[in-house]
């Protein structure tokens, strides 16, 4: 499987955004399939790889969109921290529970604003799932993930709808608190599942 992932990596090296996703995919698969690693260590490695690959300066702004103006600097900082934890944990839960077997990095395409979309196919136990990464070059010139579309569903658009709805009646502090409570709940569930 690792050999397959490395092959996938080698086969699509033409464009830097595609290469970045191929490397990330290979790294994630290697982590998931490492029998020496404990569940906790796997999760930590996975989360580190994801934290380093997502542009955390841009994603929170995209999900808040026009509601960003309602947040002061301190609230923005707290929001970014709790949203990052929520997203990374959610992504880990999905990847871990769906028995990921391989990631086929298929192709990349430049979008009209200079972003790139990188199309992959997740081979899961008993089914396949289309996952498209939206990539943007950061200030340091590194290609970073700014959105993930799973079976055509954009996480940025989905979270934006949720925050738009929540912030129509709640304050930024309320929303941050809800995120923090959700994270604590997820962590407790994770510990229960893993018997920690």
């Amino acid at each position: 499987m690792i050999a397959f992932a490395l092959f996938a990596c080698a086969a699509v090296q033409e464009e830097p955004p595609v290469q970045r996703i191929a490397e990330l995919s290979a790294s994630v698969l290697t982590t998931l399939q490492d029998k020496e690693l404990s569940a906790r260590a796997k999760r930590e490695q996975f989360e580190t790889a994801l934290k380093e690959s997502v542009d955390w300066n841009i994603v929170p702004k995209l999900v808040l969109a026009r509601n960003l103006k309602k947040f002061d600097d301190g609230q923005r900082e707290r929001f970014v921290a709790s949203f990052q934890q929520h997203l990374v944990h959610t992504y880990w839960t999905n990847t871990d529970s769906f028995s990921l077997r391989a990631i086929d990095v298929q192709r990349g395409r430049e979008e009209s604003n200079g972003d790139w979309s990188v199309v992959t196919q997740f081979q899961l136990e008993g089914s396949n799932s289309s996952v498209v990464y939206r990539m943007r070059k950061d200030d340091a010139g590194k290609w970073m993930i700014i959105d993930v579309l799973v079976e055509g569903v954009s996480l940025v658009a989905n979270f934006r709808s949720q925050f738009q709805s929540l912030l129509s009646s709640d304050t930024p502090d309320d929303v941050i608190q809800q995120l923090e409570e959700k994270n604590a709940e997820s962590e407790a569930k994770y510990r229960e599942r893993e018997g920690e």
Partner: protein, 245 residues
């Protein structure tokens, strides 16, 4: 008696559907939100106390290969729906792929219990009339939660009624048997998606809005045959202004 009732319902709904044609609709077009949230709440309760325990029990007792076989069987029965809708969408190649899949799976695949055709490289193209209307340019219309069945919209709900005409089992089976078979299919599919349901619950901050938006986006992607690759609205990725109010 069932057929004329469906025909009447379809005819009554048609002007409403056609009236929604063309224009850029957003996922939060939800004039019936209060009703929808109430039904969402009801469905969540039914899931919690009835359907998820049933699906969990089903998942415990029925091995995965048997669940997959049942799913294949029910999917195979939908062949006429997929065939007709591919033709209506101007995709004769996909329609004949579906014909080939039906013949192969109904014979070599043991009455449809095994998806041999997929193993032979003939991929499914599962198109319904809601998608056909989408391809013809009809907007989804207001979001609509159905009791038990879950999310839909005016266009897809109408399509669901029309597709009923193309499903042969609706003509030949006794309503009691049809109801029982639909129940088995419903619980079996829920059982196969338990992890997905759990993951959704864990990630959603406002589960109703998360479901409404995911349904909207997924159906947009279905209409584009999974070729959309990026959201229709490119403005999704424009950076918002950061000035504080």
């Amino acid at each position: 008696m069932r057929r004329p009732t469906w025909a009447l319902a379809a005819l009554l709904l048609l002007p409403a559907i056609v009236g929604c044609a063309s224009g850029d609709q957003r996922s939060d077009f939800d004039p019936l939100e209060d009703y929808n949230r109430a039904i969402f709440f009801l469905n969540s309760g039914l899931d919690m106390i009835l359907f998820e325990p049933l699906a969990t029990g089903w998942d415990f007792f029925v091995p995965d290969p048997v669940q997959d076989s049942l799913s294949n069987f029910f999917t195979n029965l939908m062949f006429p729906v997929y065939f007709v809708n591919n033709l209506l969408q101007g995709e004769p190649g996909y329609a004949f792929d579906e014909l080939g899949r039906f013949i192969i799976n109904s014979t070599v695949g043991g009455a449809g219990f095994t998806d041999i055709a997929a193993k032979w490289g003939i991929e499914p193209h599962r198109e319904d009339f809601g998608q056909t209307l989408g391809v013809w340019g009809v907007d989804p219309g207001p979001f609509f939660m159905l009791p038990v069945l879950g999310p839909t919209n005016f266009r897809d709900g109408f399509g669901f009624v029309v597709d009923g005409f193309a499903a042969p089992q609706n003509y030949f089976l006794d309503p009691a048997i049809l109801g029982a078979a639909s129940g088995v299919n419903f619980i079996n599919e829920k059982s196969r998606n338990l992890k997905l349901i759990e993951a959704f619950k864990e990630s959603a901050l406002d589960p109703y809005v998360a479901l409404r938006d995911a349904y909207f986006q997924k159906r947009q992607d279905d209409v584009a045959n999974g070729q959309s690759e990026s959201p229709k609205e490119e403005s999704l990725y424009d950076m918002p202004e950061e000035d504080e109010e």
